[in-house]
Symmetry: D3
Subunit: 119 residues, 6 copies
Amino acid sequence: MTDEFQKFKEFRQKMDQKILNKGNREINRFYALDKNAYNEGALSAETKELLGLVGSLVLRCNDCITYHLWRCIQIGLSDEQLFEAFHISLVVGGSIIIPHLRKAVSMLEEIRSSHEFSG
Amino acid sequence: MTDEFQKFKEFRQKMDQKILNKGNREINRFYALDKNAYNEGALSAETKELLGLVGSLVLRCNDCITYHLWRCIQIGLSDEQLFEAFHISLVVGGSIIIPHLRKAVSMLEEIRSSHEFSG
Amino acid sequence: MTDEFQKFKEFRQKMDQKILNKGNREINRFYALDKNAYNEGALSAETKELLGLVGSLVLRCNDCITYHLWRCIQIGLSDEQLFEAFHISLVVGGSIIIPHLRKAVSMLEEIRSSHEFSG
Amino acid sequence: MTDEFQKFKEFRQKMDQKILNKGNREINRFYALDKNAYNEGALSAETKELLGLVGSLVLRCNDCITYHLWRCIQIGLSDEQLFEAFHISLVVGGSIIIPHLRKAVSMLEEIRSSHEFSG
Amino acid sequence: MTDEFQKFKEFRQKMDQKILNKGNREINRFYALDKNAYNEGALSAETKELLGLVGSLVLRCNDCITYHLWRCIQIGLSDEQLFEAFHISLVVGGSIIIPHLRKAVSMLEEIRSSHEFSG
Amino acid sequence: MTDEFQKFKEFRQKMDQKILNKGNREINRFYALDKNAYNEGALSAETKELLGLVGSLVLRCNDCITYHLWRCIQIGLSDEQLFEAFHISLVVGGSIIIPHLRKAVSMLEEIRSSHEFSG
């Protein structure tokens, strides 16, 4: 049942490793910069992950959406909160977002039922 | 000194009035939907305005950025918080965001020094 | 032979149902607004579906393209008409549209040969 | 009163001339291809201009919007028809379209009151 | 091992043939224009393919990326050169590019190990 | 005659200074990363600036286009070379690029005639 999420995680980890091992120093710095952006600071980690989620939704990147949904769930955000972020994405980005929303809601179910969360 | 912000507000109000007066019922409904999206709910109004701001930055819409900056300032967000939202936008959206960031920082100054905020 | 179109329809229906059942009133309103946009009015339903199709092509959303192709075929548009809409999308949006055009033409065949249309 | 439309037309004509005179044969072919796309064919010229307008709106290009509005008005489309095309653009593309819609409605007024149309 | 690249090439060839056979003269002209754009001229073929690659990466089109990677490899560009082009794409386009970069690096391996290149 | 280019340079320098002075360490790192991306490496500085130019054109960012044009001219690229890069951008990105091309050609003239280049 959690097939797609599992495949996403594995492909992501495998390819990131290959990219980082390639030794392009600037790309590796970009990866570090990207990771740091979501650390707790003047804004909470919850808010920052939601910002990443909405940015990913309006730019329509399924893998980015899956990643930030995963992080949002790890941090403890509720479906009700996530659906309000979905609505803002939908209003800002329009109906062109809907196929990504369908995918997001499907992944949301997968992630919640994955063994990481369903114990 | 607050010229551009003032012009933005006036043009926005004038044109929205013309659009709503035109009587296309569905467009008017879209306007209502857009307005409601930022109301306090399961997510705070602060978080929602930041979501609107980051959505506008990564989609690179100067007027939308100005509007959400204005709202963020009305709600009481600090420059430090806004710059963390700017950084997430920059990392997600890339250097193509930088010209919009320059404009945003320029408008941020204008808005803070406008008579609405500087008493 | 009509595998992908069938899967698209099923996933679309299943996920839209889940999204609407979630009870976020504003998202449900957006769905209604989206549906109404293509109703016959001062512009014909044919023209409106073509507008939806070209909007989807230039924004490069495969599922949106499939949906509007399906509607265009239900309404009776010919391949010759659809290819003229494809060409406008191609000129406006550039060669980056070509992979979506390939997919569109493949779906167009599937839809026309599906039992809904081939009797 | 028709300042911006006039300036748009003059800059467009001057720069297109410079670009075509530069003698890059492939760019000149692209210009011809672009022009031909809106000729009456299996779809009417009205429909094609509306497709160009909605493509321009969802891709958020003010100059492209102004150009297609101008052509739509030359061809005889009514405000009611144009506002239905605006609504489809708004639903497909989201609130990020609104600043372009404001500009479009402002240009629509300018174009209708320009001496080409108000005789 | 070279499954995805093979499937991409076959689908591309099959659908392009169908599109060209459909006889829409303007679409066929667009295809010719697209092909000519990468011919050696004042800029080398290497540079032009890299321009196509970066254009495809920042616009986030997987099939376009695969096509230009294939061409870059045929022309003899090294991984080190390609990774510098990847880095520029990443900086210009932001972290939203990362999933396309993962896919690109995966296809890069497939292409290099395909019988066209590995003898 | 070089008004717009001059204004661009001044606004860019002033705002970048303000942004860097604000002390958000991650934003400052992004700026450094952006600058490094165009250094001579496995690809020449000429190629890298052209990659930046085409990336900016297809993403339709006027200020980014102006910046990379300026750098391309400093490095010694000819108009003939730049127009081939323009053509690739046009084919990849479509007619929606044309207004940015008009602006680019206008800035190209301004930059070449500015005292930095015309001695």
